[in-house]
Symmetry: C2
């Protein structure tokens, strides 16, 4: 199945839209959230549990899988879907962001990034061609171009140079791509400078990708700046291609970004928070280790349909967390992932029923519990 | 439902028997293995996964649950079954063994054991009455008498004194018991001395319990001694009551003990080994981190019907383990628990089909893969 994207509904008072993104491993209803499956697993969840949470697409990290177990190993074993027993869509990042945030002795060269593995210190050279080679070996449904993730803060000049490198690499990624069943998304950089964001968008779109991502967000910039950049999605990106806001975000960030026309999101917040006992509900954010839940016989969220909420009390979840039990991480992750997926379902329903603006206003005013 | 035990089949050339043990939360086909759910969870498994592994009954640890979250809390929340969402039988130990192996500053007094919590150093006094109070609050289907676990080695005199204390406490437990729907098992101590084991059995049986356990095994004694004591099960314990070999053991230990007439077993081996990447199969014991599995596309055990074996390769399991992923512990635990439960199913089938001795000989000769 080749990649396609259809808009099936639009909000009248914002840029929000309802879409269907078809990939080689099935269709994704957008706006959609992708839980992060860094090392070939969404931490602490069985694939069938991920699916039961309503997840349609997950994100895999090229950097981690390239280093361990190695993309060639995964290719020999039939690709990432088969390796991890997830038969639904997978988007992989290019590895660039992880090199930026995890690897040691990183050195950006015109042809790629030289870095040392955070696992064993071994030296590697990640080029645009290599990023595509790895993602093709993984058989990702959606691949991302290798980009240079501009740090925050950076001067206009630094940002422009970084952006030019990203554009050059985007072109090389496009040339390196072999498989027609895999989609390739371009990444818009440009840091905190609207003129550079605009330039990046124009030049990236000229190259022609299956979708476009905003990159370089959630790297320490002020929230207001992130929102300004998010607002540039609709005016600067083609309406008929999916738009992916990388690394975003909180439930509020997502609702806001949907209103700006974003279709895809990924973030470690639901899974990482879960492992730290921070749980999302429609009422409030719950710190499960809090002594007030010691004898609480109610579920985390009365309105939630997840396995955790249907079967366990806050008191039990608190006990597991305090006792350091693995099951705490499992049950908390199930709940938070389901919370995010339900949020996306609520967004899509609101769009379908032509009441997205009302939903957004209520959600952001009441903070939707967060 | 009140507690009962029926023998429904016997091996002709050993003491092995097939039974049905009925408890307030359902029936258990014996010989049966109980995975250990120390802190209100069989580590890393959802209750529905435990059940899918074929588990009929689990063991809970009174010592841990008494200290955290506290038996009164669990009682308020509807008992241990409801707390942990396991609606099938539960046996709880008395806490004695954990005090012996985990607690600090343990002091044995005629009326009970004074100890300090391994969690916060708080001082507690565990009496026979308290052990019953806690187990009644937990609402265990089968409770165990508080016993004094004789260390190995110990002199005949020390062992006899310890045994007399155990007998005295057994009587106090029986007197303290209130609930008719909960069964109470006596524990036979007597260390390494056949005469004392015999005495303990006779005196404990005189008191009249719903079942009998051999205690004080797996405390460092030589295997041959454990086997000698195991052989005393049938001659010294009533045929019409279930016999529980506490803390045993390896697959070979279990097969041997079944031939001696044991009906119930518990052990941390399958769950703890799983978390350390040691996996049981019919062919061999697999160390999953071994580099030879790096590209192995076969399941752990071709003959196993567990979720792990049906869905994942050794290469994937190795990857998860080496990467330190939580999913490694989950998938490994599912497999090892299923291995143990399948072993019990194979034992019961062999008994049903009148070929247990053949099964036992083949299993112990081929080492059944272990």
């Amino acid at each position: 199945m080749s990649f396609s994207f259809q808009i099936i509904g639009k909000d009248t008072s914002s840029f929000a839209r309802l879409g269907e993104m078809t990939t080689a491993h099935g269709t994704v209803n957008t706006p959609a959230f992708m839980p992060v499956g860094t090392q070939g697993t969404v931490k602490s969840l069985l694939p069938e549990e991920i699916r039961k949470c309503g997840v349609q697409i997950i994100l895999g990290n090229t950097y981690h899988l390239y280093l361990r177990p190695g993309h060639e190993t995964i290719k020999k074993l039939g690709g990432l879907h088969r390796f991890m027993n997830w038969s639904y869509p997978i988007l992989t990042d290019s590895g660039g962001f992880q090199v930026y945030s995890l690897a040691q002795l990183r050195k950006i060269l015109p042809g790629g990034v030289m870095f040392r593995s955070h696992i064993d210190g071994s030296e590697h050279f990640l080029t645009p061609q290599k990023a595509i080679e790895v993602q093709e070996a993984l058989d990702a449904d959606i691949m991302m171009c290798l980009d240079d993730c501009t740090p925050y803060p950076a001067t206009h000049d630094e940002t422009q140079k970084s952006l030019e490198l990203t554009l050059k690499w985007a072109n090389l990624c496009l040339e390196a791509k072999n498989n027609s069943h895999q989609a390739l998304f371009g990444i818009i950089q440009g840091g905190a400078y609207p003129d550079l964001r605009k330039l990046a968008a124009r030049e990236t779109v000229k190259l022609g990708f299956n979708g476009y991502a905003l990159g370089g967000l959630s790297v320490g910039e002020p929230k207001i700046l992130m929102q300004e950049i998010t607002k540039s999605i609709a005016p600067e990106l083609p309406a008929d291609k999916p738009r992916y806001l990388m690394g975003v975000g909180t439930p509020e960030d997502i609702v806001f970004a949907v209103s700006c026309g974003a279709d895809l999101f990924d973030c470690v917040i639901p899974t990482r928070s879960a492992r730290h006992g921070l749980l999302f509900t429609n009422e409030e954010k719950i710190v499960i280790k809090n002594a007030r839940w010691r004898e609480s016989d109610i579920p985390l969220d009365e309105t939630c349909d997840c396995y955790t909420c249907k079967n366990f009390s806050r008191a039990y979840l608190r006990h597991l967390y305090v006792a350091g039990e693995i099951l705490a991480m499992i049950l908390n992750t199930i709940h938070n992932v389901r919370y995010y997926e339900r949020l996306m379902e609520r967004i899509r329903e609101a769009l379908k029923e032509k009441r997205f603006s009302q939903f957004k206003n209520e959600f952001l005013t009441n903070k939707g519990g967060n």
